[in-house]
């Protein structure tokens, strides 16, 4: 599958139509984890649209997203950037044995700064 196809699949899984984005950046303006991220919510949408989803896939940003859904809540066009991240995460999980976090390894990786919500979110996704 090439990137464009993956992008389409991500759009399908997430139910997000990135063409609805009017590029106002309110999602990024509202994002609490902005500075922890390489790519920011408005870029998620843009990457999904332009088919450069591999960049996002390889980025740690998808794990630093807190899934707080502030971007979803604030978006004036109902684009739902966080759903793209959810979908990309899901996609990665489906790439069997490639990028799985092992639960036992997590404590070593723990960072004092990581918000609790992110941890809970991660455990929810990767508990097995």
């Amino acid at each position: 599958m090439d990137n464009m196809e993956i992008s389409k699949e991500i759009q399908r899984i997430s139910g997000v139509n990135p063409r609805k984005c009017m590029r106002c950046g309110k999602c990024s303006g509202t994002c609490p984890a902005y500075d922890q991220m390489e790519y920011h919510p408005h870029q998620f949408v843009n990457l999904a649209l332009s088919g450069k989803i591999d960049k996002l896939m390889e980025s740690k940003s998808i794990y630093t997203c807190l899934s707080c859904f502030a971007c979803v809540e604030r978006c004036p066009r109902g684009v739902e950037p966080a759903n793209i991240i959810e979908a990309v995460r899901l996609w990665k999980i489906r790439q069997q044995n490639q990028n799985h976090l092992v639960a036992d390894q997590i404590p070593a990786m723990l960072d004092e700064e990581i918000p609790q919500q992110a941890l809970v979110s991660a455990f929810r996704k990767y508990k097995k």
Partner: protein
């Protein structure tokens, strides 16, 4: 039985090359009722027209069929020609044998056969044609303007200048509308009041204009040229003709804690008030919700103090009915409520204001006399953040899907004025797009950026949090791809604008259509932009969609010219191809009225008793031919077939079907 003449046009070789025109004429001559058939090179030429005219006279024709180009091309020409010799123009039908026959077919045999069939259908239709005479209705030479903002004022002045009577109905105690609240206007930065108040005075002094301030439209009956409008004059408890507007009462009234609408609640007024110094009419009004006398019966200070004796606590709402020929809707706009946008902390901090409130704060007639201070602590703000598109271009429930159009420019104006008056203030404008289509608009915007050093940042503010005496603004800068955190003193929100709440019920009264955003729809988006589809109803200003002042004035002028065009006529000549109801068949079920886009159908209960032994009352429909536009929707909705359309009657269309399928 009709005596029909058939005239087949060669159109040079356009038709004759693929259609055997002679054969068409010969064959159609065999049709029942056809007494004359001929062909000619150019039927639309003067010679051709004369041929038709001569034949009508010589053959005593009662109907004419022209086989030629599209009726969209020359139907009017031919109708005029037959009318010149006394035939009713609606006794003529055109069979389209050029665009829909000769030009699309190559085989002569096929094309000729089709031309014959099309001609036969036209003959069949003419058999059932009846002379139609367009109805005439007189025009009441007076216009009503609903809404006394700049749109209404301009429109009323233009109509009055042409010599026609105009009434303005304004729901507020004064005309002037939103423009009175605005400090400066873009892109020239001249003072809003200075250009508006002379117009308000003109309106007040113009003999042709009558102002019903503090009034509302209650009912609308009638149709284009003949509207009867019920107007409610709300009780202001002050006799308008006696009050001199001295304003003494507004200083002495003991009830001081009334929110001042004029300043958008940023300060207070008395229970008896004159909205502002230049109000027209300059008459005091008592706010019944706050007046102690009206609420408890004890006080009466204003009455005692008024030397003119204008105060009347017993005043009641007054209802009157007036006649108009045309109605202009200029109900204007309001900024949306920002309750649903709490991320901007509008309800949490008094220092987060809407742009219109900001206008008042900046205005010399505003609560602080034009000195810009924060509403919370009356300190001068050092950092101001402007947020654009608050609620505009938003497809989520609380927002508006459209661009409010004026925000880019007024925000630019505000930013520029701030920097000019208080050069040590940092001004940030967060934008999605900056839209400056207008004369000198983009230059104005560039000046703000280049000369006044306003920080324009592409990106949206995500949230505003009041912290101490600061407003923490978190936003993204899409160009540098970083998140900004600004400690602002004030945040100004460019709230989306929406149609006034009174517009929807008014549209129902007028049977004028509206779009889903409650803006009035125009008769045609491009070609009839100031007319409503409902004949005689015209649109000016933001009632039709967001507009800035120059555009509003332009539209008001255009609207006035349309109104003048209507009022200049003594009679309106209608389209005779309108619907009509056979009351013997009608059962009054209202189905037709439900689908009529023009409100042309009304009902009355009539007595249909055939013998004197009893009364048989039935509710039956009647169509107002002056309002009906002839779409025919009602004719299909009507189950009994009582409704039919002149010019395209059920029988006529069926006879065409029969002729074609033969």
């Amino acid at each position: 039985m009709q005596r029909i003449g058939v005239f087949v046009c060669h159109c040079g070789t356009n038709i004759a090359a693929t259609v055997d025109v002679k054969k068409v004429a010969e064959t159609l001559l065999q049709e029942p009722g056809v007494v004359y058939a001929t062909d000619y090179q150019y039927m639309c030429s003067e010679a051709g027209q004369n041929m038709i005219k001569d034949a009508i006279k010589a053959q005593n024709l009662t109907g004419v069929v022209i086989c030629s180009c599209s009726p969209r091309m020359h139907e009017a020409t031919f109708r005029k020609a037959v009318a010149a010799v006394g035939m009713n123009p609606y006794m003529l039908e055109v069979a389209n044998i050029r665009e829909q026959c000769s030009w699309i077919h190559k085989n002569i045999e096929e094309a000729t056969e089709k031309a014959i069939i099309l001609g036969r259908a036209a003959v069949a239709k003419v058999h059932l044609n009846a002379p139609l005479i367009a109805g005439q209705t007189p025009v009441t030479k007076r216009a009503l303007v609903i809404g006394g903002g700049i749109a209404g004022i301009q429109c009323a002045l233009d109509i009055a200048d042409a010599g026609y009577q105009v009434d303005i109905v304004e729901k507020e105690p004064t005309v002037g509308g939103k423009m009175t609240k605005i400090d400066k206007t873009f892109p020239t930065l001249d003072c809003s009041s200075c250009i508006l108040t002379p117009k308000m005075v003109d309106v007040a002094q113009n003999e042709n204009i009558k102002i019903y301030s503090y009034s509302e439209v209650e009912s609308v009956k009638g149709f284009v040229g003949n509207f009867t409008v019920g107007i409610k004059r709300k009780a202001r408890y002050v006799k308008e003709d006696i009050c001199t507007g001295c304003g003494l009462c507004t200083e002495k009234c003991p009830q001081k804690k009334v929110p001042n609408d004029y300043n958008l609640g940023l300060d207070t007024k008395r229970a008896i008030y004159i909205p502002f110094a230049q109000a027209v009419p300059k008459v005091a009004t008592i706010d019944a919700d706050y007046c102690t006398m009206l609420k408890t019966g004890k006080c009466g200070v204003c009455s005692k103090i008024c030397t003119a004796g204008a105060i009347d606590y017993t005043q009641q709402d007054e209802h009157l009915e007036e006649q108009y020929g045309a109605i202009v809707v200029a109900t204007g706009y309001n900024p949306i409520k920002l309750d649903a946008f709490d991320e901007f902390a509008y309800s949490q901090s008094p220092d987060v204001v809407t742009s219109l409130e900001f206008e008042r704060l900046m205005s010399a007639s505003g609560p602080n006399g034009g000195h810009l201070v924060r509403p919370s602590d009356h300190k001068e703000p050092k950092t101001i953040v402007f947020v654009q598109c608050v609620g505009s271009r938003s497809t989520v429930e609380c927002g508006k899907p459209y661009c409010s159009k004026i925000c880019c420019m007024y925000t630019c104006k505000h930013a520029m004025l701030c920097r000019e008056k208080y050069p040590d203030t940092e001004v940030y404008v967060f934008y999605i797009d900056v839209r400056t289509p207008g004369k000198n608009y983009d230059e104005f915007y560039r000046r703000a950026v280049e000369e006044y050093d306003v920080h324009y940042i592409k990106g949206m503010v995500g949230k505003v949090c009041p912290e101490g005496d600061k407003l923490k603004v978190q936003a993204s800068d899409l160009l540098t791809n970083e998140q900004l955190h600004i400690d602002a003193d004030m945040v100004v929100l460019a709230a989306a604008i929406e149609a006034d709440k009174s517009a929807r019920p008014l549209a129902t009264l007028l049977t004028a259509s509206m779009d889903t955003n409650d803006f009035f729809t125009e008769a045609h988006a491009k070609l009839r932009p100031v007319e409503s589809p409902t004949a005689g109803v015209f649109l000016a200003g933001c009632a039709q969609g967001p507009k800035d002042i120059p555009e509003t004035v332009t539209q008001a002028g255009a609207c006035a010219s349309k109104v003048i065009g209507l009022l200049a006529k003594d009679h309106l000549v209608g389209n005779p191809c309108v619907a009509h109801s056979d009351e013997m068949m009608c059962n009054g079920c209202s189905t037709c009225a439900n689908v009529c886009p023009y409100g042309a159908i009304t009902y009355e209960t009539k007595d249909f008793s055939r013998r004197k032994d009893g009364t048989l009352m039935r509710r039956v429909a009647s169509v107002n031919p002056a309002v009906c536009q002839g779409c025919g929707c009602c004719t299909v909705a009507c189950p009994s077939g009582a409704m039919d359309l002149y010019g395209f009657s059920t029988k006529q269309i069926m006879s065409e079907v029969d002729a074609i399928c033969k």
